[in-house]
């Protein structure tokens, strides 16, 4: 499996909490953030999208509040947990072939659609070919990736089959697996790696 290395993004706050995925823009907390360029969507935009799309009653103020406080000012984890009323569930996201992992908070999203949108933002070299199909295509080399996750039983499963809440509960980590591996000839077992000499 790919070793986890911290990647230093210029604007991120590299801490053990790994808050690197939040897109920080210049501005005071509490302001509505507009994206500076067309490429990356601001974090609050994703959150706003949540409010639009979702009719569930989980779209309430703690979420919005989180969008404001996380990352800036750089609060320590203890204080952060006091401020945040909601639980959070951070899971690692690995992509086959990428040298570093990211983390997402599954509690931030309310559906698979939103999660995959966020993944698209995280790994901006991918484009989601079809939300319904839930496949991801690497626009650089054209290879297909299948979103999978490891559940609490240790099995690798395809993302999207079980109800969302059940998924959030049982997901331990995510992996965008090369489709050739998802459809390979051996069921995936952990510690398999080889080297030649």
């Amino acid at each position: 499996m790919a070793p986890e290395m911290g990647k230093k993004l210029p604007e991120s706050d590299v801490t053990g909490q790994n808050l690197t995925e939040t897109e920080l823009t210049l501005g005071l907390p509490g302001e509505n953030r507009n994206p500076k360029s067309g490429d990356k969507r601001g974090f609050s935009e994703i959150v706003d999208k949540n409010f639009e799309d979702d009719k569930s009653d989980e779209a309430k103020s703690p979420t919005a509040k989180k969008a404001q406080v996380v990352g800036w000012p750089p609060v320590r984890s203890l204080r952060k947990n006091i401020i945040l009323k909601k639980s959070c569930k951070y899971v690692k996201v690995a992509v086959d072939g990428a040298p570093y992992l990211r983390k997402v908070d599954l509690e931030m999203y309310n559906s698979y659609q939103q999660l995959l949108g966020a993944l698209e933002d995280l790994f901006s070299c991918f484009t989601i070919r079809d939300y319904l199909e839930r496949k991801l295509m690497d626009s650089v080399n054209g290879s297909e990736y299948v979103p999978t996750y490891e559940d609490k039983d240790g099995d690798w499963m395809l993302v999207g089959d079980v109800p969302w809440k059940m998924f959030v509960e049982s997901c331990k980590r995510l992996r965008l697996m090369k489709s050739s591996e998802a459809h390979g000839l051996e069921p995936r077992t952990p510690s398999k790696c080889s080297s030649t000499s």
Binding site: G97, E144, S180, H183, G184, L185, E186, P187, K192, T196
Partner: protein, 576 residues
């Protein structure tokens, strides 16, 4: 024939053991049906939901050996459902305990086995000789302890791929002191550490032990001592994967294996060091082997290992990683003339290594190993010409599974779809029973399959075909088809609903991420009451709001059953 005394018929029937033949016998006349019923001892039920336990025991009251399968094993996918999907064996065990106390063999595959069930098994069948829990879960090591403690005549205990809760190895220590009947023991997938002394004592007192597969918790340095106590072993599987790599221990291990003069089958996971001493031992062991499984490498000096393969003259079954490349396959093809079963799996490594299998290696194998029956290969590139050559060289293939590195790759030379290649395979290999497709494929490939693959029983395909016709070619053409697995193809309701009666002759149809809609599935369920149409779509069925019949279903699992919808479906499974 009507005057033929039953005793003689019974005698004749006793020679006919194969399930298919027995099924055919039972159709001849009522007398024969009845006689077959009473004398059938070995029963295999491919889908535990297809009929009720009561019904099957009523039909075969004298069953002594029962095989039951739960969750379907899909060829080309990660786990497609969580563990609580179903496949519970409980109703079966209750019925068997009541009505079949003479049961001698029970094999359960991919089933949910609860602790009470295991306890019931341990007390209900005094003559139990063989218990197989393959890919099962739901029980703990305490349940296993009951089995090992109470089944006095147990000969075969197979726990491969099963998951056991609370496993501290205590089940092995529960074999009584006077227990000596063990012939085969497979606990390779278990996580818990057994007591080594108890293991050694068990091995020492079972003179008939032929097959032993240990898990990775058995310490490497103790392996030689264990083997010393079982010089009669024929099949051995070890997994010193996570352990410290100590060259001296490895040397002693291979020396000990070498001392098992009857060893024919070896399954090694983990390090395969190629120090000189080890090479000497392995080159003495390998010529005796009929079966070799070295799929899980951690580190291998590949060229040295390929050299060792030159000793495997008798090999019939080989499981290996694609790390050996075409070079390794060339060695296999020139050495293993008796090869029947070859399986090449991908090397999962990051960063990816630069050695893999191409069509050259595959063609070499077909030239060197004409007796090949099962060919399952992961490769990086393939051509139609190569597939055609394989089909000509190895017409005896009954299981062909190809998996390309890039799922929809065409022939890498001509850039054409692989229709002609697979067409040649189905045409030439008349006994083909199992086929797994890969690569760029159009409807034409399916037309060939429908036309030629008369004996095909299992077909699995991913991202292939251009239109609904492809699925219809197969459904209409392959009259022996039993299992159809389709993933990410463009087949929709028209394909699904064109040949409804066909589904009653299949064990199951499985479609994921295709174009079938909720409305189509509902129609199928309505028209065919003898089918269970189960849908998994990322929602609880209680959630209710499936408003839209045009919604495309993620996963569809259709199977024939005499038992109606199953009562134990979890919330995320919706039976229409």
């Amino acid at each position: 024939m009507s005057h033929f005394p039953e005793e003689i018929l019974e005698q004749i029937f006793s020679y006919i053991t194969h399930r298919r033949d027995r099924n055919a016998l039972s159709l001849v006349s009522k007398t024969w049906y009845d006689l077959d019923r009473r004398t059938r001892h070995s029963v295999s039920i491919g889908n535990c939901y297809a009929l009720s336990p009561a019904r099957s025991i009523e039909r075969f009251p004298n069953v002594r050996s029962l095989t039951l399968k739960g969750k379907p094993q899909l060829v080309d996918i990660v786990n497609w459902v969580p563990r609580n999907w179903g496949g519970s064996v409980d109703p079966w065990v209750v019925a068997l305990a009541r009505d079949c106390p003479d049961l001698r063999e029970l094999r359960l595959k991919r089933m949910l086995v609860s602790e009470p069930s295991l306890l019931l098994i341990s007390t209900s069948f005094p003559d139990l000789r063989s218990l197989g829990l393959i890919g099962c879960h739901g029980f703990s090591a305490d349940g296993l302890s009951a089995i090992t403690a109470k089944c006095r005549f147990l000969e075969h205990l197979d726990l491969q791929k099963s998951v056991v809760g609370n496993d501290s190895g205590q089940w092995l220590s529960s074999f009584p002191e006077n227990f000596t009947s063990l012939v085969s023991l497979n606990f390779g997938s278990l996580k818990g550490a057994v007591n080594v002394d108890d293991l050694m004592s068990l091995v020492a007192r079972c003179p008939n032990l032929k097959n032993l597969r240990l898990n990775k918790a058995v310490p490497l340095p103790t392996l030689p001592q264990i083997l010393l106590r079982a010089p009669q072993l024929v099949e051995l599987g070890i997994d010193p994967r996570a352990q410290h790599i100590d060259p001296e221990s490895h040397n002693r291990l291979y020396e000990a294996i070498r001392k098992c003069k009857s060893i024919q089958s070896l399954s090694l996971s983990g390090v395969l060091p190629i120090s000189l001493c080890c090479q000497v031992h392995l080159s003495a062991i390998f010529p005796k082997l009929i079966s070799l499984d070295i799929i899980s490498f951690i580190e291998v000096r590949i060229l040295g290992f390929i050299n060792l393969l030159k000793h495997c003259h008798k090999l019939q079954r080989l499981r290996i990683v694609d790390l050996i490349g075409d070079e390794g396959l060339l060695v296999v093809s020139s050495t293993c003339k008796d090869l029947r079963d070859l399986r090449i799996v991908p090397t999962y490594s990051n960063p990816p290594v630069n050695r893999y299998v191409t069509e050259e290696g595959i063609v070499a194998i077909s030239k060197g190993c004409p007796l090949l029956e099962s060919f399952q290969v992961f490769c990086h590139q393939i051509t139609n010409a190569a597939l055609i050559t394989v089909s000509k060289n190895c017409p005896g293939i009954t299981c062909f599974r190809l998996c390309l590195h890039q799922r929809q790759d065409p022939d890498h030379v001509t850039l054409q779809p692989l229709d002609e290649g697979f067409g040649a395979i189905v045409q030439s290999c008349e006994g083909l029973q199992r086929l797994s497709l890969s690569g760029l494929l159009t409807d034409q490939a399916f037309l060939y399959i429908g036309m030629y693959a008369e004996n095909l029983e299992t077909l699995s395909t991913t991202s292939a075909g251009d239109s609904d016709r492809a699925m219809l070619y197969v459904l209409n053409g392959c009259r022996n088809l039993r299992k159809l697995e389709i993933h990410s193809c463009c087949f929709g309701d028209n394909a699904l609903l064109a040949n409804l009666e066909r589904y009653e002759t299949l064990r199951f149809l499985w479609m994921q991420l295709c174009e079938v809609t909720l409305g189509g599935c509902k129609f199928l369920a309505k028209k065919m009451p003898l089918l269970n149409v189960e849908i998994i779509h990322g929602r609880d069925r209680d959630q209710g709001d499936y408003p839209d019949d045009t919604m495309k279903i993620r996963t569809l699992y259709v199977y024939r059953t005499l038992n109606g919808p199953r009562a134990d479906a979890p919330n995320f499974v919706w039976t229409l």
